[in-house]
Subunit: 495 residues, 2 copies
């Protein structure tokens, strides 16, 4: 069938171009000399143009039409056509003029944001954010979904809706806020300051590399480097993780590496026969984040994990953790403390940071709130959810680059990741009842294999919600995460 | 003028895609994990396809037609249109089926070559080379030049012809062969074995980096790394050099780094206002090689250069060069010795290796010789030119990958580089009469500036031969190189 072959040829070209972009982006963050930025920007802009041309090419649309009218497509081809159509529809529906205008506005806004944040100057940033919000509303409108915010969500979490999110997130908030109050009032308290002792970078690098390898990350099919902002990129046989080392704050690199390792295992675990096809890639941003969070928090902060690795950690930094028992270390890496900055937040408060952003950005898109009122709303919600208030906008509404970059509908995937992770983990414990024993002997590959088979290899054959239902037998719910957080609070704070 | 703007937009897209290819190739050689090869091959194949589509797109052809009919184009735009047309004509004239067939044949031939070379098994390689030669003849035919070999040369050295090469190369051979005989009979002999003492890699790395920086290579606009086969890639603000270290053979990394540094300075020295335009890049492969050879041989093996750097070299390797006077070291790095392998050849015999390959490949393309007779011809010419004979085909006709890769018309640019370098150097000495004093005080930037102004900044506004005439007032000639080699033979061998 010629249309089928032509479709796969074109779809794989589109995939290859996107991978080329990723490789150049990795190089830009990790290897590129300081003056190379302008040239690299030209290359990436041209690749983006070519990619857009390939996706919107009428010939590609005709191939999709033909295949959609074909009765005897197998399930795999159906999924590929569905994903290609979704991708193409988004590209075709947004007028090129709007794309260009929004790209330019975001580029300018990010420069203004970089100056405004350290000066806590929301007034300078406000007109730029207003423009981006207006253009983002136009974009959502063009995407022609029943709900504008849903149209934005769909880019990162296909099939998820604002209404569904609101139910789950409200449930979550209703239980997180009281839990946090209880934790703040607890008399037993861990001592996280022991994580601020001096841990030399070389020791951290060797230890992190060891754990990532134990997780089953294949360094013959990937790399592990340093960058200012840690990330994972690439896929299957060339997956690259980065981290950064803070000598006086062990969790930064340690849990950062485990987190990126979780992303990396997902990409290495895709089906090698399908990874270049439209439904062969990772399922959604939420599922991707579930893999990093599962490893970082549910494995990496568990007592069973540290039964195995704490003696090795002490050996890696001779004398530094002298007299610190395993239990004290484990409590320290699980300390909960409301703080102003999302990226530094613990497992409990992190979700509240996300819920706040979801509330505000969905209100902005629906015009229920105006940009000018954002700082006040932000501070009010911080008080409400976390019990603390930012002393200035730099540590408040201005802290994240996401909105300046035009990313609306993206924040929720961070909390979805935590929810899916806990739900998958409960299922894993049901299927592997001796999981703690497995972890205590450092057999992390058993976890990897479970995730490979249940999640990774399926790519985006199912939506995130279908995958969740299939793997756990239940739709997405806040229950598993809350059970996990309650249990941890009980262990750490004696609640 | 709209056609003009559209032309430059498209030409710069083509440039950006080519640069993206280079960046991915650098990554492949220097950074990519071992298993990443297949994915990278897909990405590079797709980029090559897209690049070919952009170059052969009828719209681009129409833009060129329009601009060629425009009376009031300035010289710069004329040069850009001329270069774009040259590039497009090559792409349009070769039938896609022939491109695909030749690419596949070369890919297969290179795999066979890799097995055949260590086994000296020419018989296994022969049918593959026969196929490549036949397809290359077809390609040359399609390019529709008066002479088939000229059509091949044109890709690497625009405007150069087989006839012109033959005159210069015959002249060169007529003087190199007797010079080599004299050198072999000389009673004074340098001792190159002192270069086989142990020079630790770290010391070599620091010393090479120092020299490359002294040459004026900007490491904020480039990198200096290690790879199995040294090369330079990228342009202007992102130029990457590689080298490799042999602890028991100092010249490998040392002259390798200076050589690549010469290529790198050329790329960094292009006109920043024009580098993305068709006539903004490097002039030709021969001119490129002239820059690397000028630095490697005419600067880097000069006595004046080592007056400055020999004391630093001795400091970099304490004790290793104890008791070796400057003159003995300088003689050692200028030792001449016929050898079987081109890449290990000295300044005199290197050119004879190239002349031999030019003779054979031009004969192959013109069907004056058949592939089956190649080993015999090779060995006969080695005896004739260099006075030695390969004990087997692995060290003879099978030693280079070039023909397996379909590179015909490429070898001559190596010798052209040496010729242009010597001719430029004579001119530089005329304009900078105190050059030796400049070099002895390590003021390498003066050389860089001279090359920047005379050669680099002009890109490919002129052909190589026009550039040579403009810079030196003379057409290409073997005289300057022979004067240089005669003088060096006199100093080193007392001839």
């Amino acid at each position: 069938m010629d249309a089928r072959k032509a479709f796969y040829d074109r779809a794989r070209q589109i995939f290859d171009l996107a991978q080329a972009q990723q490789a150049l982006e990795w190089d830009q963050e990790v290897m590129m000399p300081p003056k190379g930025g302008t040239q690299r920007a030209h290359q990436l802009a041209t690749l983006a143009t070519v990619l857009h041309e390939k996706v919107t090419d009428p010939f590609y649309g005709e191939l999709l039409d033909t295949l959609e009218d074909t009765a005897d497509l197998d399930g795999r081809a159906c999924a590929d056509v569905r994903e290609a159509r979704r991708n193409r529809d988004r590209a075709v529906r947004i007028p090129p003029k709007l794309v260009a205008e929004r790209t330019e506005a975001c580029s300018l806004a990010q420069m203004v944001w970089m100056e405004a944040r350290p000066k806590s100057d929301f007034a300078a940033f406000r007109p730029h954010l207003e423009k981006i919000v207006a253009l983002t509303r136009d974009m959502a409108e063009a995407l022609d979904a029943p709900n504008r915010y849903d149209a934005l969500l769909d880019e990162y979490e296909p099939g998820m809706t604002e209404a569904r999110l609101r139910i789950v997130f409200n449930d979550l908030r209703g239980r997180l806020v009281p839990l946090l109050k209880d934790i703040r009032g607890a008399s037993r308290r861990p001592d996280p300051t022991l994580l601020t002792r001096r841990f030399p970078s070389e020791g951290q690098e060797a230890f992190c590399r060891r754990i990532v390898m134990d997780m089953g990350f294949d360094l013959e099919a990937g790399r592990f480097d340093v960058s200012a902002h840690p990330f994972t990129n690439g896929t299957l046989a060339d997956v690259r993780l980065t981290t950064r080392y803070q000598e006086n704050w062990l969790p930064c690199a340690l849990f950062g590496a485990i987190h990126e390792g979780g992303h990396g295992l997902y990409e290495q675990g895709l089906d090698p026969e399908r990874y270049r096809d439209p439904a062969g890639g990772a399922c959604s941003m939420g599922i991707h984040e579930s893999q990093s969070r599962l490893w970082e928090n549910l494995i990496g902060r568990s007592l069973a994990f540290w039964c195995r690795y704490y003696p090795m950690l002490r050996d890696a930094f001779p004398g530094v953790l002298e007299g610190v028992p395993l239990e004290a270390f484990h409590a320290a890496v699980n300390a909960v403390q409301p703080s102003l900055i999302r990226t530094e937040a613990d497992e409990v408060t992190y979700n509240l940071h996300i819920l706040l952003r979801f509330d505000l950005e969905s209100d902005l898109i629906a015009q229920r709130v105006e940009v000018k009122d954002l700082p006040e709303r932000w501070n009010h919600k911080m008080k409400d959810y976390l019990g603390i208030e930012p002393p200035n906008d730099g540590q408040g509404v201005l802290q994240d680059i996401h909105w300046a970059a035009g990313l609306f509908g993206y924040f929720p995937t961070y909390a979805l990741g935590n929810l899916y992770a806990a739900q998958f983990m409960e299922q894993m414990r049901t299927e592997l009842p001796d999981l703690d024993a497995i972890l205590s002997r450092g057999d992390l590959r058993t976890v990897k294999t479970w995730l490979n088979e249940r999640i990774h290899v399926h790519g985006r054959f199912w939506t995130a919600q279908e995958l969740c239902q299939r793997v756990t037998g239940q739709p997405l719910s806040a229950e598993p995460l809350m059970r996990h957080l309650d249990a941890k609070a009980s262990a750490t704070y004696g609640l």
